[in-house]
Every structure is written in C-alpha cells, then in structure tokens.
Symmetry: C2
Subunit: 156 residues, 2 copies
Amino acid sequence: MRRSERKAASPDLGILANRALHAVQRELFRTLAEQGHPDLRPRHGAVMAFIDEEGSRATDLAQQSGQHKQVIGTLVDELAALGYVRREPDPDDRRAKLVVPTERGLDQMQRSDAIVGEIEARHAAAAGEAAYDAFKRLLRQVGEAPPADGDAGVTP
Amino acid sequence: MRRSERKAASPDLGILANRALHAVQRELFRTLAEQGHPDLRPRHGAVMAFIDEEGSRATDLAQQSGQHKQVIGTLVDELAALGYVRREPDPDDRRAKLVVPTERGLDQMQRSDAIVGEIEARHAAAAGEAAYDAFKRLLRQVGEAPPADGDAGVTP
DNA sequence: GAATTTAGTCACTGATCTTGACGATCATGA
DNA sequence: TCATGATCGTCAAGATCAGTGACTAAATTC
C-alpha cells in the first residue's frame, strides 16, 4: 500500500489535529458571519477568544494566545476599527492599556462561546458525554508540553 | 470568574486543537532537527507528510494537504534545494512531473513517521489503547465537515 | 478533429509573523 | 531614597507565507 493511501486510511495525530482545528475554525467563523459578524478572521481569535468582559492587557492576550505582542497590537488596531474593542488606560499602571470590548465585542464573545459550545454539544451527543469528556482530557494532554524537556508549558 | 480564567481552567475545543497541533509540530520538528534534519519547517509537511516513496504529483500533494499548487511548487523548489526531493517527468503524462524523494527524503519520511508514532504510543500508553483509539476516532469526526452543508469534506 | 480540461510554472499581490529598539513607567534591592 | 533592572506597548523594519489568474503544452472528452 502506498504511503499516501495508508495516511488517507489512517491519518496520524498531526494531520487529524490540523483538520480538527480548521473544521472548528471554519464552522465558527462561517456561523459568526451568518449572525452579524462577517468581518472577523481566525487570527482575530488571538484577542477575541481570550479577552475578559471587563478588558485585558495586551501582554496578557499575547501570553494566553501565544501570539507576539506586536501582532496583538495590530489586531487590536483592526478590532478597534471594526468596532469590537477600544483601548483604555489601565488605572493600576500608567504604562499599560486595557483592551476593553464594546457592546459589539461582547455580543461576538457571547456568540462565539455559544457556537463552540454547540459544536462541542453536537460531538458529545454523537459520542456520548463520558466519551467526549475523555476525549477532551486526552486532547488537553496532547497539547501540553512533553514532560522530559527544559521548556515547560510554553505556547507558540 | 473572569472569562480568561474560565478558559484557562476549561479550554474549549478550538483552543485545545490549536495547542495539540502546535505541540505535535514542535516536538516533531525539534526531534527531526536532533536526528539530522534541522532545515525543515512545518510548512514543508505539506509535501513530506504526504509524498509516496515512489513519488507523487504536485497536484496530488496539493489536494491531500489542502495547500495551493503554487505553494506546493515553491515548497518542492525548497526541498529540492535542501536535497529531500527531485523532480522527474511523469512517464504517463508529459504535462506532469513526479516529485520523488531522495535518500535523504526517504530517511526523513521514515523518521517523521516513527516520531509521530512514538508520540502517539506515549499518549496511548498513558491513556490506554482502547481510550486512545476512541480519542482518534472522535478527533477524526471533529475534523470532518459537519453534515448539513453544501461543501462536503473540503480541507483548507 | 475540435473543444474542454488539466499540469505546473510564471508573475505577481496580499497577508501574516518575527525581531529588536525605544521611552515611559513600575518593581526591586541595597 | 535611589539606582538598577524589568515591563508596557508602540515603532520600524525584515522575513515568511498564502492566494490569484494567466499561460503553454498535453491529455481528455464529445
């Protein structure tokens, strides 16, 4: 059997993870577009997926999402222009800014959390709650850094 | 509880899939670098993860990997320069070329398949074979297009 | 045999990521 | 209290990566 046939019949973990990620992103952003948020793209998730209702610092968003702070800065510019967030001074630290969601931002956050929840509920219904819980625990373990290495828990 | 705290405590499917993909890619390419293949990057996987031992056409690699054929062309240029593949005419079709792995390419293919196999074996050992098999079946389902849509099974 | 489709390359254009420097501000330790 | 080191976010690049349409030769289809 040819290698590509073996891979098609039994894809490996990296290929499956890549497809799973793209399937979830595709459905999420298509459904967001249908629900009034057509301007958002997956890379905006580095901000919108992690931002708190009461606002977050850019450095926190960079750390949580694994994106460089320069990229977060540019994404915040775009999201501000699109009406999703605004920048405010951080009262606790005059160097820092808070990225605060607008009403439109809060709506998007609530909707995207609900959409991902529905995707998960659909898979849980198909597989069974217990099986789905076990699946998520294993997926989380796969995403954690392997133990025998100096760099612990670093996201890209 | 703040949204970012909830997300840290219980990350959703998209975040988990993103981390899983990056964890597997990071370990794979770091281990390949240690084993004599330091010049390869994840985007080369669009060719090296799918190529057959006896060679593949660029259009097949584009279809299997979801990458545009222009990108595959550029990647094949780079991999040829690095000594992993060479282009040969396809005897069955004078328009077509076969991308054929070199000895170095075959070595990398065997090693990367083994490395991903070891990553999977480690997770299977930790979780149990039956649990890991169930995990992969579910991950594959997550990566398949949702049923109620016109675009069936398209990879990005 | 003509029309249509395909293969891969050309030539772009556009998108995204990475890095280091900088000034203002904060935290730390002597 | 002060000097020093660290942090915050922006600036200004440079590097990497993806997407599109056109083109010629070759194959397929009708």
